[in-house]
Every structure is written in structure tokens, then in C-alpha cells.
Amino acid sequence: MSLLIRTDVTAVKLYEEFIIAGIGSSLHIYEKNTAKSFGTHNYILEGQKIYGIVPTKDKSKILIFGGKQFKVIHRSNLELRLFDFSPGSVLCNDWLHSGIWTSDNKIALLTAHNVVQVWDVSNNPILISCTINKDNSILYSGLITPLIDDILVFSGTVFSEVIISRCECEEPLHRLIGHKGVIFSISCSIERGIIVTTSDDRSVRIWGLNGPAIDRNTKAFWDSVTISCIHELYGHLARVMRSCITNRYVISVGEDSGICFWDSDGTLLKKIGAHQNAPIWSVDVDEHNLVTGGADCGVTMHPLTVASDYSDSDTLRIGEGTPKKLVFTARRNLAVLNETGHLIYYVIAEKTEIVHKIKHESTYVMLSISPCKQIIAVADTNGSLEVFVENCKGPASVQNVISTKLQINKILSMQWADNRHIVLCSESGDICVIASKGSEVEIVSKFLLPHCKERWLTSAAMNLDNNLLVVGDRCGNIHCFIKEGTNPIKTFAKVHGRYGPTSIRIKNNGIISTGRDGTIKYFSVYYNNGVYRIKHTSSKDLGFQWVEKCIDSQDNLICGFQERVFVIADLRNNSKLLEVHCGGGHRSWDVVRYIENINNGYEQIIKLVYLKNSDINMQTFCISKITSKDIIKGTHSKEINCLKSHHPQLEESATFFISGGEDTTLRVSIAKESKHFQDEVILKHLSSIRTLKVFLLEIDKLLVVSGGGRAQICINIMHFVKDCDDVKVVVEDVIDFLVKGTDKERKGAKTWRNCTVDFDPETRIMDLEVVEGKDNCFLIYAGCSDAYLRIFQFKYHDDKVTFKPLGQLKYHKTCILKTHCVKFLDKIILMTCTTRGEVCFWDLTEPNSITDNDATAFLSTTTNKSGINCIASKIISDSEILLATGGDDNAVHVKIVHIPNEDFQSAEIVHTWTSDRFHGSQITGVLLKDNIMVTASIDQRVTVFKISKNGREVEFLYQTISDVADIQGVDFIKKSGDTITVCVFGKGIEVLALSLEEANFNCHNLGIL
């Protein structure tokens, strides 16, 4: 029984107040407005993905099709369920591309060999007619549309053309020629008189109908119409998968995750990205919404608007002279510094301005606003300082509260460290922290900024007890000072590349910094007995280069710039909330986010102001009207290669999945009940992640070691902590190691072209094992694609982390696919498996013993004919280990290794069982738990076997089919009573409860076609 499924979303439908999504063979129903689940129906089709959801006009019935199957489900009279249906589906002899209702009881289906089948579905479906169209080589797409007096057929062929025909007419009516590649989709709006095709050639084509002034729903019209391509549109960067037509727009979705909105003139009105760069497979529209389903397993609803519909754009004229710097104040008015150094306070609502004239001795004037946005400081390099405070009530104004001349020369930077302290940095790195004292200021503390090329600050923050000051300098370093000393107690060199950190915030024992290296970084702060321990814990890549700051109190909304575009990203779901073409970050700008009550509803508003060509531009966005909403949150955008589950002790009902995949991300996702599944943490590797192993350090603290392409190994420590009612994952990234060195280490100062070092970018870590040694020391054994077994030592103790290679061993001739460790009595045995089907056994009791080059395995055996994709083992007695492997040859092998009296040298294989009858393709997952063996294969079958206590007998119990394509493995979740719960992963993830009770086999067998 399937408990949870996430895979390609191949069908979506907006149906009344609901969104229906076809995910694998199941239908998922969500309420449109609340995004709440309204139920899931599993096994709608049998072992087949759903590709089409077609309701009747009155919405009382829905035709569901996919692959060669279809089924009709009925609207339910029950309150809590939407549909009634019975098991089973109708099997056609060919793949179905399109289906429609021609009347209340009849459906027409178009097959991949260009055959139109008409079925009567009033009771048991009966095939009424079959029209074989002339051109019957395989179609990649098709569309059928009912006419009043016939059925119109659009066939998208591999020959890059669309053939239009009618069922009653033998000869095709029209051929649409122009595309240069396979046709992936065809849409037609008879009302608007357009046909839209999308293709492998990355183009969207809009075809216009030019026909007689008669009803377009008649065969007479289609027989005499002329059709020509009116627009050939390029907006996608990869293949264009689907399209749909609304009253105003043509919308196309592509393999590049892009959604393009086109108008009837072929203008690209808007392009948005969704689904994490994964292909978008499905799309549907109603009057106000667009819904898309993607290869990242997500379903997203987008407002059917283009950005200009729900945003205000204004150019403000403020004061005389050119504005130089501007900020938003707490009352969301503007403080503008103009070229003469005067401060202008501009009240946006009233369009009034108050000018505060300031006399400067220098032309370099700085403007800075406190974090609460109420206090504005203006200073020049010679030390003139003016401080203004905005009033909270009454007519908006600012009052000059401090006007002084500081005895500091050559001030180069000024930042607010909190709402009371200003940090000034002057020539030769003198840092002064000042605070107000009456109408004057006093120097609270002084520090010295270590030497660097451009010696001033770009950001600063102070903690609550005023003891710790954290600053970022122009050269990218972060320094931490305590009140008592002049020099930093801790320096993080170049944490944000070579540019200064853009913002620093101190919050709840942590520091958050952002920079122009595209990341947000997290540090932890421990204070104990007057000693601060500050350490870098993790870093998050945001996907745009210039990350400026957080704009909400929860630190979830981050703004910055991607080249010339201003971006706001939402960290919670890794999506872009807003993109504004403003020209880039090298200008004065500010942004505020606030909640406003509009028509009794709370709306999130974003206001952006920026200077461009000396104009002050202001744009206001009502977020809910322009941003997309996740109905089902997406996860990995490509195959998952490795996965481990974890049950935190804090919360028994939750299961966490730690997974790595082809999309280069390492994710931690939480699954609660059967519907809730969402990514909590996303980390990145340089290349695909092939393997990950976990080790429980202490309760709810996991060591996660992952490896993959570019010979990279990453180690993260994941803490599962209680956060209100939820369990939160806190990640500490400890090691990021490239076996072959970083690019810089490998090529030195030379360019790649002049580089003679051995550049071998192809080595992949195929699998690894973690073995605990003594004193917080771990040994990591990595099987690599260049046939080497590499051994590393990892030490972890408080702050001190070391990671070093201990040696490497080339014993095998070909790629090592799997490594597997087993603790046998008090000894540790490592097994290595290769693409040649060998399994070698190593004694790891003395870890250094195998780093010698002449080390040999104590036992070697060949199980599979070629690559071994999975291995599992079980100790069956003091002298026997049972071993199961699955390989490329469809075969599962069970072997028993006999080790008499702990003497490894006399170990031998004493029993072998093998079968290739159960899977039709590579076996990629094998699992041993008690007396049960589970195998999973790329053929999407999961097989359950029972193994006798002595391991000598293997009995087939039953087999089930999973909706996850390209299965890469199976992981154990739990076993309770007679049910074993496992998770299969590959192109998606499915949790299956496999019941071992005899009676259940028959139930399962009923499902067979």
C-alpha cells in the first residue's frame, strides 16, 4: 500500500474550487484557496502515470487517462469525498495522447498511432468505433476537439509537422509545417481562432485561422479554412513541453522551468521560473489562476496576471538638485540626501517635503538609518554628524536631535550597529562606536580594524548586552570584537568572497551575514564564563550573486540583485518572490515590506525605491496578486541517488528523509502522516550526489557524510531540535573536501589552457562507508570511479575538526560501485563491489592494514554478471554472514560466507541462491530486515522474499509496483507487526507499507490486469 508518493506531476486540472493533480497513478485533490488536501485516491490506473484529467461540461464525471489505460470516475454525493470510483481501468491497445467527451456518455480518444477510438461509457465501456488516420507512424502529441458534426484531430508527428484531420474524412485537411523538431504539444482555441504548438526546437508557434464567416465548430469551416503561422516565438531556453490558451494570453511551459505569458501580438509579457529548474510537465488555467505541475514533484498555482497588473510604479520629484542617497523611514516616508548634502524628508502620502539644510565641510557625505528605521544619521568625512528622529504620531516629520562635530578625522564608513550605536571607521582602521548622550555623543568603545587593502567597514552589528561587535570589512572579512579588547577575538577571512559583507545581524546566539558571493551564512555564538566561542555553522546558496539583506523579522525574505534585476527570494521554499528590472545594486535604493489591511484582508506589500538616471523611482507590489503559491511543495528536480530515513526521538510521528541526487542537492525533508512532505534543508554539492551515509552521534544528532561527482565529500552534522511544536533541523557544515583538490589547488596560478597538471575531473565518489574509531574519530572508506578505495580520517571534537586522507588502494580494475561495512563479532568487515560483479571482503579491524599497497582482500567472489548496484548483509551466526546483492543482470544473489573461528583467511562461500526471474531490469535496491528481503528495480517492481533462519531457503512472497521511475534504491523505515514500511526512491519517492500476512497476497494479486 502506498503511504506517500512524490514524483513527476504529469496532469493538473482546475476543477471548481479544487485543484486535481495526477501524481503517478494517484489523484491528489487540494482546495484552491487554502491549499489544503481534500483527499488522495491511490491506484486510479494500474502501474501507470496519469496524463489526462478531463471533466464533462457539467463536471459530474471525469475521464482519466494515462499510458494505455483510461477510466471514468463520478462525482460523489458524499460530503467528505469528491469522487466515487471502483477499482480497475480499461486497457486500450495503444498509448493515449488526448481524450474528450463527445456527449454525456461518449468519449473519444486519440492514440499514439493516430487512431481515434470512440467509447460508450454509460455502463461498462464499449468500443463503438475506431478511425485509423492515414499517417500512422508514432505521434509525440495530439489533440482532439469535438465539432458539432464531427471530431477534429490534430496529430503532432516526429516529422515536425502537425496534421489536422477529421474522423469522417479520409484525407488530412491541413498540414502545419514549420517546426524543426518533434511536436510536444498542441492547443487550440476555437473561440480565439488560434492553434498553439510547442516543440523540441524551443519555439512556440501561434497559427491563425482564416476561414469563412460561419460557425467555427463545424466541419464546413475546417474544410475551407486556411491556416498560417502568425508568430514564431522564442522565450524558452530548453524544449517547450506544453501550452494553454486563455482569453488574453497564450501560456507556454518548458523544460527550463519557465512559464512564458504571450499576448496575441506575440509579445512576451512575463516570464517566471517555477519548479526549481526542473521541467514543467503539466499546465491548466481557469479565469484567474494558472496551475503547473513539474518534475520536481511540485504543484504550484500562479495568479493569471502579468506583473504590471498589480503593481504601482511612480517617479517622484523631490527637492531641488540631484538626489544622491535615499532610505525608507519607519513611517514609510523617504529620507533623501541630495548632492548639496541637505536632508529632505518626503511624506509619500501627502507629497510634501521638508528640507533640513546641513552645512558640510566635505563633499563625501554618508547617510545611515537605524535598524528600527526611526533614527537617521548623516555624517561627512570631516566628522560633522547630524542625527534626526522621525516622530511616531501626528503629522510625519523628523527632528534634528544631535548636531555635533566629532573629533574623528577622515571618516570612511558609518553603520548603525543597533538602534543606539553607530560604528564609524576612519583612516588607518580606527573603529569608534558612539552613542548619544543628551544632545551630544560619546565614544563607547574603540577597536582597530586589521590591515587590509580598503580598510573600512561595509556592515556592523552589536549584540544585546553591548558586549560583542561584529563587523564586515570592505575586503570580505568578518571580525568579532569584545568590549575589553582592541583587536578582534575572532576573524573569518573572506567569508563572502572578495567583497564586503552586505549585512550582519546578531540574533538568538547566532550571527547571520549576507554577501556578494550569492550566499547567506550562519554562525553560532556560545558565551560561557566570559569567553565567546563563535563558529561558522552553515551557508546557503541563493542563486543570485548579490545578496543584500533580510527584509522580514523571521529572516525568510532575502533581497539582492541578479545582475541588473532586483530580486526578493523566499528562503522557505527557495522561490523568487519578486523580480524588478532596476539597473543593479550599484545605486542608492531601499526596500520595505509591510502588511496592510485592504478590504478586510491582510495583504503583504513590498515597496521598492531606487535611483536611476537621477530619477527617484518607486514601485509598490501587492504580493498575493503577483506571486505563485505552492500547492504541493517540490523536492529534488532530478533522480534521487541516495536516501536515508531518520526518526527523531523528539517527535515519533515524523520521519525525516536525508537524500542526495542528480540535481546536486542534499535535502532533509520531513514527512508527517501521509500527505505532508516538505524539504526543510537544502544543501549543495558541486556535482551529482551519488551516496550518503549517516551515523548517529547522540540522540537526534546525525553525522551525514555525502559524496559524488568531482570527487567531493561533504560532512554535515544535523541536529534535530524542538522549535515550538515542530522539529527543526539545524545544520552545521563541517567538511567540504575535494579528493583531487580544488581548481585552484590543482592548477595553481596558471590558466587551464597552460596547465600541465593531471586534470581528472571525472572521478566520482560512488559509495562510502563511515566507521567509528576511538576518540571522536571516524574512518571514511570511499569507493571511487577510478577503481581506487580511498580512506580518510575525520576527527570531530568541539570546535576542532580535522579531515585527512590516510591512503588509497588500487586493488580493483574497474569502477567500485558499492561499499558496505558489517560488524562481525568484534571485527569490522568491508565489502567492495565493482562493475564486473565482484565482491571483495576486507578486514578493517586494523584500519591502517589496507592502506598498504600490497593489501589483499581475504575473500573475493563474483556474484552478478556485471555491475552490482546494491548490497545488504545480515549476521546469521557466530560464523556466518548472509549477503544479498542485486545487479545489472536482473539477478538477486544471496550468499552465505562462513568464517570459522574468526579466522578470515579461511573464510569461504558455503551457500548460494540466485534468481533472475523477478525483475525485468537492473536491481538497484536490496534490503534485509529480520527474515525479510526486499528488492527494488528500475522496472518499478518491489519484491518481498522470506529468508529462513539459517539463510538456506529464500521464498518469494509477493511483488508490487511503484510509481517511481528509475528506482535507485530502497531504504527501511519501520517494521511493526506484520507490516514492513520501506521507501523507494529514484525519479521521486514513494513510501510503501508491505504487509507480510498471507491473506494479503491475494488482495494484491487481484490488482493484476
Partner: protein
């Protein structure tokens, strides 16, 4: 080729360039032959879906060894797309689902039937595994259909398959036409890929079978002896082919292979002719893309 295809530049990609093959798939056919000796005595061969032509290259090289008179060897390469010319190979740019193509092949063989039909065709992969597998199986069945017109009794048919969820349907279909059907994976094909090859030996159509092109062959359906799940599934023997000492496509090798002292970069032998993405490449180059 779409965004979803993985990079396939392994050791064989490099060897193909160095040994003058148009694609690394040449090694796959060579390794299949090592195991099954499919070229033995073959003079007339058909290469379906031949472009870019690496299998035709293998055929011309290998079939020559079967005779003293090179003129006895007849190789016909069929593809929808244009393919750069190869000496000794007759090219037909045509559709394998058309009867006329079958007649053209027979004409080339002067009325005789072929000893061997090979097909390494693969569709445009969409990234949706079930569609890709279905389209691939239909391509194979189309190849089988034309093969029934041109292959002599006892002949051999080799074709690429995707071993996905419904591969058993294809096996049972092929078994109707050939006495011996095996699935074979050359060492030059990656362990991780779902690609494999069916080697169908001893062509022996069901009695009373009349080759026709009017209806396309459709794949089988699950039935009593080939169930969707369970122990009764139609699974054919699997074999690995290629010498154990051969290079392994999953292994990463150093730039300097054993016995080499220098490495020289080689251009691909045959670049794509007129790919679907040609227009957009030109447009992005000239920055005309509608942004």
C-alpha cells in the same frame, strides 16, 4: 537532445574519436559480436535508424572479412535524417514504417533477403520514463515490422531497448518471431543507463504470418503468462558482452592511458547535421532571443 540527458562523455567517447568511429556506440556492436558472433557469414545487412552511422562503419569493416570479393557485401543504411556518406554503404533516407522502404531495401539486395538487421535508433528522450520507454518500444516494433519483410528465415536482429517497467511486453512480442531472444549489455554501455540490446537469433515467424505494413505492430498486453507483477513475468536471459579486459564505461581513466605518453585532443568525427536546436543556437548567438 534535451536538458534531461546526462553527459555521456566516458572513455568510449574518447576512444571513438581516436579510432575514427562516428559515435561511441560502435563499440557496443563490436562487443555484441564478440559474444554472439552475429557477423558470421553475413553478406547482406541492414542498419535501421543509422545516423550518424557508427554501426554502418562497423558493418563495412567487419563484413568484408567474410568474403574475398568486397562487392559481395551489401549494406543498406536507413534513417529519417540525413547522414554523411560512407563508402560501401547504400543510404536510404526514408521512414521505416513505409512499405516502399522495405521494397527499396530488397531492391538493393537484388531480390535476396538480409542476413542481419540491426537498429540502434532511440527517440528524442522527454525525461518522462514511461513515454520514452513506450516510444522506444514502438520504434523497435516498427523496426521489427520492416524486418519481417526483409530478413531471411534464420536471420539475426539486434536492436536497442530501454529496460523500463514494461520491457517484458516487448520480450514476449519478440519471442514470437525468433527462437532465441537474449538481452545483452555491452561493457561499453553504462551500468547506470537503462539501455540494453536484444539479440534475436534464428528468425522464425509464426506459421501463416504475412508481413504487412498497414497496421503497425503493437506491443503485447499483460496476460496469464506475463503478469504485471508476481512470479509469472516473461523475463528473457541476460548476458553481458565484451571482454573482461575491455575498458569499463563507468570507470574514470587518467588522461594518459596505459602505454600512452602524450594526449592529443581530437574533434568529434561527425558533428550533428541540422539538429532541432540549430535555430535557437543561432538566435542566442546573435542575442535575438525575446527576453
Amino acid at each position: 537532445m534535451g536538458k534531461t540527458s546526462k553527459d555521456k562523455r566516458d572513455i568510449y567517447y574518447r576512444l571513438a574519436k581516436e579510432e575514427g568511429w562516428r559515435a561511441r556506440s560502435a563499440f557496443k556492436l563490436l562487443q555484441i559480436n564478440e559474444e554472439y558472433d552475429i557477423f558470421n557469414g553475413v553478406l547482406r545487412a541492414v542498419d535501421l535508424c543509422a545516423a550518424p552511422g557508427s554501426w554502418s562503419q562497423v558493418l563495412t569493416k567487419k563484413l568484408k572479412e567474410n568474403t574475398t570479393n568486397a562487392d559481395d557485401v551489401k549494406i543498406v543504411a536507413v534513417d529519417l535524417q540525413a547522414m554523411a556518406a560512407l563508402p560501401g554503404v547504400k543510404q536510404i533516407q526514408g521512414d521505416i514504417t513505409k512499405l516502399s522502404t522495405a521494397h527499396e531495401i530488397i531492391k538493393e539486395f537484388e531480390g535476396f533477403k538480409a542476413d542481419l538487421v540491426v537498429c540502434d535508433g532511440a527517440p528524442d528522450v522527454t525525461g518522462l520514463h514511461d513515454i520514452d520507454e513506450y516510444v522506444q518500444s514502438q520504434l523497435l516494433l516498427a523496426a521489427l515490422n520492416i524486418t519481417t519483410h526483409v530478413l531471411k528465415n534464420g536471420g539475426v536482429f539486434v536492436a536497442k531497448i530501454f529496460r523500463g517497467k514494461d520491457a517484458t511486453l516487448l520480450y514476449s512480442q519478440l519471442k514470437q518471431f525468433f527462437e532465441l531472444v537474449t538481452v545483452s549489455k555491452p561493457r561499453s554501455s553504462r551500468n547506470s543507463s537503462i539501455e540494453a540490446f536484444v539479440v534475436c537469433q534464428n528468425y522464425n515467424p509464426p506459421s501463416g504470418f504475412v508481413p504487412t505494413m498497414i497496421n503497425p505492430l503493437l506491443d503485447h498486453q499483460y496476460c496469464d503468462f506475463n503478469q504485471l507483477t508476481g512470479p509469472n513475468r516473461f523475463i528473457v536471459p541476460f548476458n553481458v558482452c565484451g571482454d573482461l579486459s575491455a575498458y569499463d564505461s563507468d570507470t574514470s581513466y587518467p588522461l594518459l592511458l596505459d602505454g600512452q605518453t602524450t594526449y592529443e585532443y581530437k574533434e568529434p568525427i561527425q558533428k550533428p547535421i541540422d539538429p532541432p536546436y540549430k535555430n535557437i543556437l543561432e538566435k542566442t548567438k546573435n542575442m535575438q532571443l525575446n527576453k
